[in-house]
């Protein structure tokens, strides 16, 4: 089976809803997962990722919606009738069975008599042949994880669901298993739906990422494309960091939208904006900005977007330096600068000009909380900093 490319089909979730006592854990979610892809469902804890997977696996009683694989509707099939297998968050290996029997479980239940060959093949794929007669408790976390993958994959499911499969592993093992899982997926060609709350994991592993928030999909696509052009404030803050400035659209010149905010005008390419009305948020990723000492401000290209501010924090981190810059309207902006400049860096208290190309600017709808999706610590820090500032003033 290794290397053979199987005929696989897209997984469709249509208007999927799951309510627990009137609270929607999954809310009218519609999603197509491309056949044979490594698909990551990324979202904060409690946003409904597990519930979505359990609906697909058939382990959760449905509230509404349909699930299809290709043209086949599997909505009403029971869990044991679905051509879908799961790698559980806690692995859920059968403690009373050895590794061989754990892996053989699905085959035996389907009445397949000769399990020896496929089980041994599968154990080889996950490099656990030597452990066949051990009990799960005698294996390390990483090995248990691979047994869980083998136990699911041996059934050649149309879709393999993985619920935070690496969550229980330490960082080093996690990196190793990420590569391992990618290799296995490449070899078997099955569609992998990988649930995680780790954005780095999602971005490095997946062909396609869907970012989930409060039971819905916020944005879906290639990880780089989402990072470069987030379409909601949540995504801009949740996937990496963003600097977001609230303003008002003033009109257009050619393909650009002009946005005025705090006395300056910013240029946002219309193609990079998802704003509907006049209220707009101008966004830019921290590493896209350049820091100039204010006296050198004239060196910034005319066409660039610019902000004046004062440096409140500098942290040097080897490959890059992170600046915190406070704007005249008391907003804290973050800039990452590659450590390629020769000479003095800006230091705390310096007046600086930040500038960036309009090509790196994105426009978001203004009627959103600018903190949506930001990690709580960041929001708290910012609030605490401005509280301190106002007390000192």
């Amino acid at each position: 089976m290794a290397g053979a490319v199987r005929q696989v089909e897209d997984l469709h979730l249509l208007n999927l809803t799951k309510k627990f006592a009137d609270v929607a854990a999954v809310d009218d979610l519609t999603l197509t997962i491309p056949a044979g892809s490594f698909f990551a469902l990324l979202g904060a804890s409690g946003c409904g990722k597990t519930t979505t997977l359990r609906r697909v696996a058939g382990l959760e009683d449905p509230t509404a919606g349909a699930i299809k694989i290709g043209a086949r509707d599997i909505t009403d099939l029971r869990a044991f009738q679905r051509p879908v297998n799961t790698v559980f968050q806690s692995y859920a290996l059968f403690p009373h069975l050895d590794i061989f029997e754990n892996v053989a479980f699905g085959l035996r239940r389907r009445g397949i008599k000769d399990v020896k060959t496929p089980v041994n093949q599968m154990l080889e794929l996950v490099e656990l042949s030597a452990m066949a007669r051990r009990k799960p408790t005698q294996l390390s976390g990483g090995q248990q994880q691979r047994v869980a993958v083998a136990r699911a994959l041996i059934n050649e499911p149309d879709v393999l669901l993985l619920d935070e499969p690496l969550g229980a592993l330490d960082l080093k093992l996690r990196r190793q298993m990420q590569i391992e899982l990618k290799r296995i997926q490449h070899e078997v060609g099955t569609t992998f739906v990988h649930v995680t709350h780790d954005q780095e994991e999602a971005m490095t592993m997946a062909d396609t990422v869907a970012i989930m928030n409060a039971g819905r999909i916020e944005q879906m696509g290639n990880p780089a494309a989402i990072y470069e052009l987030p379409k909601t404030v949540f995504v801009a803050n949740f996937l990496g960091q963003s600097n977001l400035i609230t303003g008002t659209a003033q009109g257009r010149t050619g393909d650009d939208i002009l946005v005025s905010a705090h006395g300056r005008t910013y240029v946002v390419p219309a193609a990079r904006s998802t704003a509907g009305g006049d209220s707009m948020i101008v966004g830019v990723r921290p590493e896209k900005m350049t820091v100039l000492d204010a006296v050198d401000g004239h060196r910034a290209p005319d066409a660039h977007n610019k902000v004046l501010g004062r440096v409140t924090d500098v942290s040097y981190a080897g490959v890059s330096t992170q600046y915190q810059v406070r704007t005249p309207w008391d907003q804290e902006l973050t800039v990452f600068e590659q450590n390629v400049i020769v000479g003095d860096r800006c230091s705390v208290g310096d007046e600086v000009l930040l500038h960036w190309s309009p090509e790196h600017t994105f426009g978001l709808d203004g009627v959103q909380d600018v903190h949506a999706g930001a990690s709580p610590e960041l929001v708290d820090l910012e609030a605490a900093a401005s509280a301190l500032e106002s007390r000192g003033a």
Binding site: A57, F80, N85, F88, A92, F94, R109, R110
Partner: protein, 265 residues
């Protein structure tokens, strides 16, 4: 002094063990005695009479067999019913569930004298003839509680994800029960059955009320005690103890072997 202070825990443990085992040792030793009078209390002379002639005293063996029969029937029925009740209580939400939970505890909390006499009153009112079946019914009734409590604890400790994993791996409800739930709960059920049997075999008070003319082993001993307990009783008691010990040791050895085998592969 230093030695005692350092090994205090071990010393206390050994003392407690001695305290626990002295009565058993006395019973076993006296089974090899040849008492001079009616009472087998003081050591007079070594003899294996009681062991070679286990059924030598009328009533000893028949009462022993009666108790074992009652124990087996009561245990099988109580284990089967109790296991089902435990599953119902843990797995299903139904009206009266918490009441049932409470009622299950009642037989354990009620003094045996009360339980025995109430049952007797019930059987007399129903004009149910006293004998083996009334004792069996009484035993089932109080063993069930222990079975339910034991199996319930095991079931509650069972990770629900294991059954979900089975369902996910093409096991229909029946195979899920057969290949995952049952094997995982089995040690709890076996433990409950062993406990149930020993409770039944051992019971005197409830049996005495409801036995009519039937003589169980504890009832026989109680009756014999008035006239002097025959040495055969010591021998049988020792036999029961040795069998129980062998069962425990046997399961330990099997476990140990299994673990050794696993580690060596």
């Amino acid at each position: 002094m230093r030695f005692i202070r350092r090994n205090l825990l071990a010393v206390v443990a050994i003392l407690v063990l001695i305290y626990l085992f002295i009565p058993i040792a006395v019973v076993a030793i006296l089974s090899f005695n040849k008492p001079s009078g009616k009472f087998n209390i003081s050591w007079t002379q070594f003899s294996t009479d009681a062991w070679t002639n286990l059924c030598g005293v009328p009533g000893v063996c028949s009462s022993f067999v009666t108790s074992i029969q009652i124990g087996i029937i009561a245990t099988i029925v109580a284990t089967a019913l109790g296991t089902m009740i435990a599953f119902a209580l843990v797995r299903y939400r139904f009206r009266g569930r918490s009441t049932t939970n409470l009622l299950i505890f009642l037989p354990m909390a009620t003094p045996e004298v009360v339980l025995g006499s109430s049952l007797l009153a019930l059987f007399l009112n129903l004009r149910f003839p006293l004998g083996q079946w009334t004792v069996v019914i009484a035993h089932i009734m109080f063993i069930i509680s222990f079975v339910v409590v034991t199996v319930k604890a095991r079931l509650q400790g069972l990770d629900p994800r294991l059954e979900e994993a089975a369902r996910d791996l093409y096991a229909n409800p029946r195979s899920t029960f057969r290949y995952v739930t049952l094997p995982l709960v089995a040690p709890g059920i076996a433990g409950a059955a062993l406990l149930g049997f020993s409770l039944s075999f051992d019971d005197f008070i409830i049996s005495y009320f409801n036995a009519g003319t039937l003589v169980t082993f504890p009832i026989f001993i109680w009756g014999a005690a008035q006239r002097g307990i025959p040495v055969q009783v010591n021998a049988l008691a020792t036999l029961v103890f040795v069998i129980a010990l062998l069962i425990v040791l046997g399961s330990q050895v099997v476990n140990y072997r299994r673990r050794r085998k696993l580690v060596s592969t």
